[in-house]
Amino acid sequence: MSKSLTGYPRADGRVGFRNQVLVMPLHSALCATARRISEESAAVAITHDWSGEIDADFARIFKVMTGFAANPNIFATIFLTLGTPGELEIIDKSKSIGLSNSTIVNVSEIGSMELLYEIALKEAISYLALADQVARVSVPWSSLHLGLECGGSDALSGITANPALGVASDMLVELGAVSVLGETTEILGAEHLLAARALDPNVGKQIIETVARYERSINYEGIDMRGAQPSRGNIEGGLTTLEEKSLGAAKKAGSAPFTGVLEYADPAPKPGLYFMDTPGHDIEQLTGFAAAGINIVVFTSGRGTPTGSAVVPTIKVSTNTQMALSIPDLIDLNAGTIADGTQTLREVGELIFNEIVDVANGKLTAAELGRHQEFSLSRMYGTQIN
């Protein structure tokens, strides 16, 4: 393989493929300021709806905020804070995960929202200048943590883009990278096939149990899932049942054996293919991946979506040629050629592999060019049961 990776090694041994400066508001009332800084500079920012409430979902929110702020693609994180104990705990934990450059801008010390903006913007600009001076160095394949995602699936997803992504994922796992399949909703009905590929029987059991736990939490609510899965868009595209969608979605994970199962937003401990328990909700999944230290995501779509993460480059692969042509600014690669008969699965898989490497090495994705920086906190609202 002639391709090789370059990136930015971090002090804790992880590697970034971007050198982002993130503005992270720790209270929803500070989000407008964060967004404004990202509009006025090359810094990235998130917004969220957490206002400091400590409830049953706090542990999950805490894990996501800390992991996200410490994603290895980040050169520096600027925290906008009220200085409450909960917020300061988030900052401390982000540092202990591995965030090395950070600045705290505390609005209750400054006393003015306008000054908060001015000071944080100035900090962002000086970090951006420093980040620009850092040179890429050659890094090993094990530094690549790939997230596998799909959204707006159609009937071709399981035939073109997903299995082609599976080819690329297998190639990377073979080279020693990490690859993570998410979306518990979308392996329901295919979990037996994934469990059969577990390296260790316990991992197989965990895959089955994770899906069963999910199923119990939905049944517990007494809800008919078919209103949401397959979604209306999926059904229009020809997908009939959740199992059918899952059988196609699981193809993103290729045919490599499963090394382990991860809880939402937990990092992979060593190279290999993993399954992570995430919602199917595109942004909650992408946010959980970023919080787990994943540094590149490939997102297959039959319908097209602008979705991107503030910190993780997200490569969009179209499942059909029609969509790739009609909304080109959302799409990086077209796998529809497999259905058209002009390219083979293997060929498109290699194209995706090459695109992953190129993007890791600095090529900007459509979502990055469009500055799409979505973020969503995943809450259970008390519906998590074990």
């Binding site: 967004r35 206002s51 909700h281 600014d329």
Partner: protein, 270 residues
């Protein structure tokens, strides 16, 4: 009290004339924000619209309808993605039942981001020119009162509102002030008086002028100049401020751009 507002026919009379760019799903919040910035309309980010099940489907859809129904809102442009749970065309049909000055756009049918941006600007401008605002007497001002702990100031303000013939609604049940604001929005209040919780910063709801009143907490003392009214403001000072805001005076939260709103949910995303 003869006060002019904006005629919203069956939706009442508003004290502000906002055009709302309503993203019907988290995926379209960025593009909605770009359109709103370009044409000078109101929008906000939120995390809803897809991956929802059970009662949340109707709940979130009704929440969006209530946003569009609010009397401070003039015309509405709904921006959807296309494949989400709450479909733009159905939401638009439902919204139009109460606010007919609504149109909608779908990213997946508008040629992507650039296409949606251009179509969105055209559609938003067309809505504004087709439905210019008309003034009408505002017969009844409705004030929302948000607080976490009752105190004597709040009680005397409520007494004063009653005496002045001003209708009021109270929201005090949610831990997250954003949920209190959302609840008051659904009850159609024209403006909100927030007795900001001591450990919360001043904030507001994008479509509703919000008057933040400081407490004596350390946080509020530090952020004193971000509040509309200081700790210890008398109920008559608050009432005068309310009347000024109803007449067009802008609150601090109105001057800053709104970030993200929160809608009530009951079930996890799937």
């Amino acid at each position: 009290m003869k006060r002019q507002g904006f005629d919203r026919a069956l939706r009442g009379v508003g004290i502000r004339d906002y055009q709302l760019i309503l993203p019907s799903v988290v995926c379209s919040t960025r593009i909605a924000s770009r359109i709103a910035n370009e044409v000078g309309s109101k929008t906000f980010a939120h995390q809803h619209g897809c991956g929802i099940i059970g009662n949340d489907v109707e709940g979130i859809s009704d929440f969006f309808c209530d946003l569009a129904k609010h009397p401070n809102v003039g015309t509405v442009l709904i921006v959807g993605l296309g494949c989400e749970t709450i479909q733009g065309n159905e939401l638009a049909a439902k919204v139009k039942e109460s606010n007919p000055t609504t149109s909608y756009l779908v990213i997946q049918e508008s040629g992507g981001v650039a296409g949606t941006f251009n179509d969105g600007i055209t559609a938003a401008k067309l809505l504004k020119s087709t439905y210019p605002p008309h003034l009408k007497n505002l017969d009844e001002l409705v004030v929302g009162v948000e607080f976490s702990n009752s105190n004597s100031e709040i009680e005397s303000l409520i007494a004063e509102l009653k005496a002045s013939g001003i209708k009021f609604e109270i929201a005090d049940q949610n831990k997250n002030p954003g949920l209190n604001f959302s609840e008051l929005m659904r009850r159609g209040v024209h403006l909100i008086v927030s007795f900001t919780e001591p450990n919360q910063p001043p904030s507001g709801f994008p479509l509703i002028p919000t008057i933040n009143i400081a407490s004596d907490s350390a946080l509020h003392s530090a952020l004193a100049k971000e509040f509309d009214l200081p700790n210890g403001s008398t109920s008559s000072a608050i009432l005068n401020f309310i009347l000024d805001v109803a007449d067009g005076k802008e609150t601090k939260s109105e001057l800053s751009k709104a970030g993200e709103i929160i809608a009530p949910r009951v079930v996890r995303s799937v």
